[in-house]
């Protein structure tokens, strides 16, 4: 009985961890952005999409930065209400978002 309890606890813990691994996270905002302001997510091999949700008109960039060469990948710059970078590889990377203009609302979100 005790072993069954330990086993169930292990399964629950694994499910919780799996849920955490696939969940996205908002790493900046929602907030008012200033001109030339940037933000970055934590590094992970699990991120594949990096979004900037914002008021249309805010001129911004989203990209992925790898942890070896620190090069940018799948970068996009625009004023649309949503811009996104997709880099579908297993490399360790972080999301980066940057506001070129400002005084508008937005948030940055990475997910698998």
């Amino acid at each position: 009985m005790r072993n069954l309890g330990v086993g169930l606890a292990g399964v629950l813990a694994a499910l919780l961890l799996a849920g955490t691994a696939v969940a996205g996270t908002t790493y900046a905002g929602p907030k008012m952005w200033w001109p030339n302001e940037g933000a970055g997510s934590a590094y992970s091999s699990g991120w594949h999409y990096n979004y900037f949700f914002k008021e249309s008109g805010l001129d911004a960039t989203v990209t992925f930065i790898d942890n070896v060469s620190y090069s940018w990948h799948g970068t996009v710059r625009g004023t649309s209400s949503t811009i996104y970078a997709r880099w579908y590889v297993s490399n360790v990377k972080r999301g980066h978002c940057f506001s070129h203009s400002g005084y508008q609302w937005g948030s940055c979100y990475v997910t698998d």
Binding site: G24, D59, V76, S80, Y84, R86, Y88, W105, G106
Partner: protein, 200 residues
């Protein structure tokens, strides 16, 4: 007595200003937060993809496609890539009832490499214009400009002009990149302008 009234008046004005600011912030934030990131992401993953144009280069590099997606979340998204399933690409989305953001054009710069312009391996400026736009030009950091071809394209039930310009690798290596794109009518009058550029 008048001093007390004056203080009260100032206090009331200050309270009204603060309340207005809080209210405005709440309204904007509330409107902005209507986008649920996981739902938006799921809609993007499941939206049907249609190729609307092919972008050729002047220096013989392989062409890229421009792809459109109408999502169940009510957005029109555009992205450019060698293929619809490319591992690295970027895109931009607007509400389907306002795909140009109320402007004459909506442009997106997509690139790989950098952030230093000399390290960029591929860069494309793409987007949509209103039908009244006769021509568009990309302004470059060295003061020159590049003509952008406009092609009619049907996206969903609406007709637009789609454009795409792939920058020459020679320009990028010399540190020459885009600074803006400008749309003109048939008489050469400027209809819209959007700044752009590499890095940030």
């Amino acid at each position: 007595m008048s001093r007390t009234n004056s203080r009260r008046g100032a206090l009331v004005v200050a309270l009204v200003v603060v309340a207005s600011a809080v209210l405005a912030t709440g309204v904007i934030a509330g409107h902005f937060q209507s986008v649920d990131p996981p739902s938006f992401h799921q809609a993007l993953l499941t939206g049907e993809i249609t190729q609307v144009a092919v972008v050729q280069t002047e220096d013989g590099s392989p062409g890229h496609g421009i792809f459109a997606q109408l999502t169940q979340a009510g957005h029109l998204c555009l992205f450019e890539a060698p293929s619809a399933t490319s591992r690295a690409h970027g895109g931009a989305c607007n509400p389907v009832d306002n795909p140009l953001n109320g402007s004459a054009l909506s442009a997106t710069l997509s690139y790989d490499g950098g952030p230093a312009i000399g390290d960029v391996t591929s860069a494309t400026l793409f987007g949509l214009t209103a039908r009244g736009v006769a021509r568009a030009r990309v302004l470059m950091s060295d003061g020159s400009s590049r003509e952008v071809k406009l092609r009619k394209a049907k996206v969903g039930s609406d007709e637009f002009q789609v454009f795409g310009y792939r920058f020459k690798k020679a320009d990028l290596k010399r540190g020459i990149g885009p600074t803006a794109i400008v749309a003109f009518d048939a008489n050469g009058m400027e209809l819209g302008r959007q700044p752009t550029g590499i890095g940030g």
